[in-house]
């Protein structure tokens, strides 16, 4: 008997994340002096006042289930925060749902809105979960390429070129992991127009929005006529350095949030109450910490982008997120060989761009959520590696 026969066909066919392979490779070098720029999370630990609020909640015996949608106090705080920072108003009573990270919100949306065979567009290179989430919901994922020449902004032209009849949904992640790409308001307006024209529902994952270094972040949900066809996804992981708490949320039209709630209620039931209490504290009093962290990321970004370009690896300055996405093709190596050789020879871990989709070819992702000291040494090692390869 082969146990693998029990695995559903669509799961068996799903490739494992390319990041996983690389993780194994790095794990083998345990104990060696590896500097990792391969992470996808802040190096800051969650600010103490947020952790303390969680401890207090535990002491007060807050150990029960919450409402399926999440604590009403938290939903109120979320609605206020989203209105103030993104300019979209949602009713905390029925237009906000608290989820186990944005990842759960993404999964809920896919399961609630995709019929088998429906087509879902997403821009690529992108976070590793988008396409698999669609496939797991029996949809078909259609990649829309973004390019280095546009600083990896999504363009309406690329959308139009990739569009196919039967497309129902568009997933956005701006600023984008892994490219740091964002869209200007004008670009977003054109995308919005396209979505209205093609009657697309928009899932917008704005987890990196607070880490926008230049200009102001615009949410597509705030554009005229878009709130009614947009699910706004956000969470606490990146801005508040709360990755391990697994806490996020979705906001949208009541009927759509209700549909997501149905899936949530039969699967996750509710997000952890401790994480919800901590999230509430983050929204009420955490903004100063966010600004402090953002200022440091900003300087780190300037440092790493400058160094990459000095080294000869062409790198656009990401307007948001904590990722640099340099072009390594000048070395004559594939992104995979570049990452592997850099790791074994110079002990610096970066993630090959191919892990984020076909369009990530020729690039690597380097996360600058690490200390100045480490970044400086990492860049020096990369320089040594590149000059060695070129010789």
């Amino acid at each position: 008997m082969n146990p693998s026969n029990f695995i559903a066909r669509h799961v068996a066919a799903l490739p494992k994340s390319g990041i996983r392979d690389f993780f194994e490779l790095v794990a083998k070098l345990k104990g060696q002096d590896v500097i990792s720029l391969g992470v996808g999370e802040p190096d800051f630990v969650t600010p103490w006042h947020i952790r303390e609020a969680a401890i207090y909640a535990l002491e007060k015996g807050k150990t029960y289930y919450t409402s399926n949608l999440g604590l009403i106090e938290l939903r109120r705080a979320i609605a206020k925060y989203v209105e103030e920072h993104f300019g979209v108003s949602y009713r905390p009573e029925d237009q906000v749902i608290v989820t186990v990270g944005v990842s759960e919100a993404l999964d809920l949306a896919c399961r609630a809105f995709i019929n088998p065979g429906d087509k879902v567009m997403f821009h690529q290179p992108c976070y590793v979960s988008y396409s698999p989430s669609v496939v797991l919901a029996h949809g078909t994922a259609i990649a829309v390429p973004t390019y280095a020449k546009d600083n990896f902004a999504l363009t309406a032209e690329a959308l139009r070129a990739a569009w196919q009849p039967g497309a129902r949904m568009l997933m956005l992640n701006l600023p984008c992991n892994p490219t740091g790409g964002t869209c200007s308001r004008e670009q977003l307006e054109k995308i919005a127009e396209f979505c209205r024209e093609k009657d697309l529902l928009v899932l917008t994952d704005e987890i990196y929005s607070e880490l926008t270094f230049e200009g102001t972040h615009t949410s597509i949900a705030s554009l005229p006529g878009m709130a009614e066809r947009t699910i706004f996804l956000h969470g606490f992981s990146k801005a508040f350095a709360m990755t391990g708490w697994r806490i996020g949320y979705a906001c949208g039209p009541a009927a759509l949030i209700d549909a997501m709630m149905k899936v949530h209620q039969y699967s996750m039931l509710c997000a952890s109450i401790i994480a919800q209490e901590a999230a509430l504290e983050a929204l009420l009093r955490g903004w100063d910490s966010v600004l402090k962290m953002r200022e440091q990321y900003h300087r780190r970004r300037d440092l790493i982008v400058r160094r990459f370009n000095e080294i000869g690896l062409k790198c656009h300055s990401p307007r948001g997120s904590f990722y640099a996405f340099p072009d390594v093709s000048v070395t004559g190596l594939t992104e995979k060989d570049f990452a592997t050789n850099l790791l074994t020879q110079q002990k610096v871990a970066v993630v090959p761009g191919i892990a984020f989709g076909e369009n990530g070819k020729g690039h690597v992702r380097a996360c600058f959520a690490t200390s100045y000291e480490q970044l400086i040494v990492a860049c020096d090692r990369i320089e040594k590696f590149v000059s060695g390869v070129r010789r």
Partner: protein, 162 residues
Amino acid sequence: MNPVLKLLLEGGSLTTAQMAQVAGLSVAQVEQHLEQLKKDKIFLGWHPVLDLSREAGAAAAVRAVIEVKVTPERGGGFNRLAERIARFDEVESCYLMSGGFDLLVFVHEPSLQKVAAFVSERLSTIEGVLSTSTHFMLRCYKEQGFLLDGGEAPTTRLNVAP
């Protein structure tokens, strides 16, 4: 704001070479900025933050906080007396306070007797000092932003993550 001052305010302990890298300046430029900050009396100097309770070779030390009441003077207020007290080598820091006393003086001495001698023979005998109240520090938990018991546990952040 002076870019070097910005980095100093972050509280890290970067070398001038590292500061140059982060701020995108040359080492000479960073040093120039530091010089300027010194000239402007904004940057007063470096000071290591140490936990000597872990160093067996370090001589025992006593730290105390002294609340001092003084008589303000026409013209200078508290300044002349405060500056005079601040000049003693024993004094680490000296502040003018609001509330029930006037000056708060931090002292650092090898022994309790030395602190006692400083208070009774030097401080309280100054003309204009009305009274002193000395508190000895028993244990330190956080020093100038550093937690003494190591703070955070070593990071368990994964090396590669999506």
